[in-house]
């Protein structure tokens, strides 16, 4: 447990001091909104289109963080340190999942208000939408931590992670978009079907947290 806190604190401290990922993610997200405004030629969004724009943006911004998640471990010998230390490798997994969720929450704390200001006329669905995004973040964290470890230890590196991760995230996107769509509906949020999709998201999170926890030892051992 202390190993978990040590790694998590290390990651967050490094990010706070270097600011390598978060500003880039936020900038990327805001620019992507602008791109969507012209790509779709829409000044307001609602329903499935709004859900799609928001989720795709968050997903691709998350890829930036996921690609960089294990760079210090690979370049500065963090993996070797974990192997040498008398701690369970799963501490690394949980710490990385939580670190990734923290990054994504920080990203969404900026990107969601910006999205609302840019495109939404009806803001009352934003609070439940934040809950949906949190569930999506946990799933992104679980799959992201596993795939990023594989990517970091491969020759293809930055290429492999998005390649493997995107198909894995399709069910997450289906469920998150299904939950977000009624919340962003034109005449104010509707709640029919949100629970079903939130349950699907929770199932996705649970499955990949368990799978990640079960297999992570084999990714770190050498």
């Amino acid at each position: 447990m202390s190993a978990f806190w040590a790694i998590l604190a290390k990651d967050l401290r490094v990010e706070l001091r270097t600011l390598q990922s978060l500003p880039a993610m936020v900038l990327f997200a805001v620019t992507t909104f602008v791109i969507f405004r012209f790509g779709l030629d829409r000044t307001t969004l609602e329903g499935s289109l709004a859900a799609g724009v928001l989720l795709v943006t968050v997903l691709f911004a998350a890829l930036l963080a996921i690609n960089r998640l294990f760079v210090p471990e690979r370049d500065e010998g963090g993996f070797d340190a974990i192997r040498l230390a008398p701690v369970d490798a799963s501490a690394l997994f949980w710490a990385k999942v939580v670190a990734l969720v923290v990054y994504l929450l920080a990203l969404e704390a900026v990107a969601l208000p910006v999205f609302a200001v840019f495109f939404l006329e009806e803001w009352s669905g934003l609070v439940p939408l934040a809950g949906v995004l949190l569930l999506a973040d946990v799933g992104l964290g679980a799959t992201g931590a596993v795939v990023s470890t594989i990517g970091a230890n491969s020759r293809a590196r930055d290429l492999l992670t998005p390649l493997v991760l995107l198909p894995l995230l399709v069910p997450l996107t289906i469920a998150a978009a299904g939950a977000a769509e009624p919340l962003l509906a034109a005449g104010g949020p509707q709640y029919g079907g949100v629970g079903k999709w939130a349950a699907a998201l929770a199932l996705y999170d649970l499955t990949f947290l368990l799978v990640g926890y079960a297999v992570y030892d084999f990714l770190v051992e050498d």
């Binding site: 799959t143 596993v146 594989i150 230890n153 491969s154 020759r155 293809a156 290429l159 492999l160 390649l163 493997v164 198909p167 894995l168 399709v170 069910p171 289906i174 469920a175 299904g178 079903k196 999709w197 699907a200 199932l203 996705y204 499955t207 990949f208 799978v211 990640g212 079960a214 297999v215 084999f218 990714l219 051992e221 050498d222």
Partner: protein
Amino acid sequence: MKLKMPSLPVMALATTVVLVAAFALVFFYAPNDADQGFIQKIFYLHVPIAICALIGFIAAAIHSIRHLRTGESIHDFRSYVSIHVAIIFGTGALITGAIWAKAAWGKWWVWEEPTLVSFLIVYLLYATYYPLRYSIEDRDRQARYASVFAITAGAFVPLNFMAVRLAESLVHPRVFATAEGGMPGEMMLTFLVALAGMALLFATLVRFEIAAKQTRGQVHRLRRALDEQAPVAPRSRIAPLPPAEGVS
């Protein structure tokens, strides 16, 4: 192992017999579909291929779990070959699915058919198995990471089918009253024989691929051993042996 599994020639023969029987049934025994007519018979090819591909993916996940538990590389080998053959079958399933969609609905691709869409997503995920595997140089690590991928993807398969089905079920009724529903006995029998034939083909191909790879590895080792014994170092590792020895 040897006691349980029949030899490769026996399996190949059985596959040929059952597949020929299946196609004979498809063309001469099974009735034409009332709505779709003759083209519906692609069902006997498409569905068994797809089922075998999915079972291959799941089997790969089980082999991978074994590999991680025991550390024996034969399980990784089996997992790799299962995914390899399942990818080939998956390509066939997608192509036959597109042909059937064109014939039945007039379009090559139909997003409303959840099974086909799920299959495409699963296929796209497993297609990343090769770049993943071959971008890791260290042999042990390559095997371990490939197993981790196969297990993760194995858990993904049912989850993905569930999510895609949920996304469609509210809007579209199932267009086909296929397989499990009200299928006449002749069709069911034909389908089962076709499924058995395709499963045999899958198993035979897996066996063949494993045997071929093992033989190739053995030849490689023998050649290397010969090279080491040779008084003069050969120009290349795959240099042919001197003709005087008459090695075939």
